[in-house]
């Protein structure tokens, strides 16, 4: 899947949990879910679960621990898709 398409899918997933709309509009690969988008940490697990559902992958604990930024999320999704 193309990176832009993946970022769009990811944006759709995180949108309901975002508490900083301006940062969301300006989202880039470097965007941090908690620091920039102000997603609360309990909702970060919802993002992880939604990503699993959307891409039909399983994100193990070791991967989840890195999932703090858009870039890390993309890397994890790509890695898990490649393993399928």
């Amino acid at each position: 899947m193309e990176k832009d398409a993946m970022i769009e899918k990811l944006k759709k997933i995180v949108k309901p949990y975002v508490q900083n709309g301006a940062a969301f509009e300006a989202l880039t690969e470097e965007t941090d879910f908690i620091k920039d988008l102000k997603i609360n940490s309990a909702n970060l697990v919802d993002v992880v679960l939604d990503v699993e559902d959307e891409f039909d992958i399983t994100i193990d604990d070791a991967s989840m621990e890195k999932m703090l930024t858009v870039k890390a999320a993309l890397e994890i999704v790509n890695e898990k898709l490649a393993q399928k």
Binding site: S41, N43, V45, D46, L49, M67
Partner: protein, 134 residues
């Protein structure tokens, strides 16, 4: 090292579904999930345990602990309803919680002797992340 976390239970009810498939598995160890399962108020137990983990994590962040999202590696040993020891990154914290009808507040301290004083605090008008994060 001290950390602090507050969960507004009305907000938690609205913004999180703890009964969602996979939710507890990703956040809590098997032992912690047992505590939730056998609690008379599982919803309250979820957020009590969560504030314990968060307060210890925040205490570690003050020590330049690398940010990671690994709630299960933070392990809680409940001593009483409102007291626990929490181990994170090989460091032990002592937590003390206050459970009110509308919120749960937990303070974590690396020092056992330090009397953790849960002072009366005002309910934040702004429940946004910034207000809670300080």
């Amino acid at each position: 090292m001290i950390g602090n976390d507050i969960v507004d239970l009305q907000v938690a009810k609205k913004e999180s579904n703890w009964q969602r498939r996979g939710f507890l598995d990703k956040l809590f160890t098997n032992e912690e999930q047992e505590l939730i399962k056998f609690s008379s108020d599982p919803f309250q137990m979820v957020w009590l345990l969560w504030t314990m983990k968060e307060s210890a994590y925040k205490a570690c962040l003050h020590q330049n602990y690398n940010r990671i999202f690994s709630p299960k590696s933070i392990k809680i040993n409940l001593i009483s309803k409102c007291k626990a020891t929490v181990i994170i990154h090989n460091t032990m914290f002592y937590t003390q919680s206050e459970i009110k009808e509308e919120l749960i507040h937990t303070i974590a301290s690396s020092q056992k002797e330090a009397d953790i004083i849960l002072t009366d605090f005002f309910k934040l008008n702004n429940t946004a992340y910034e207000a809670q994060a300080s």
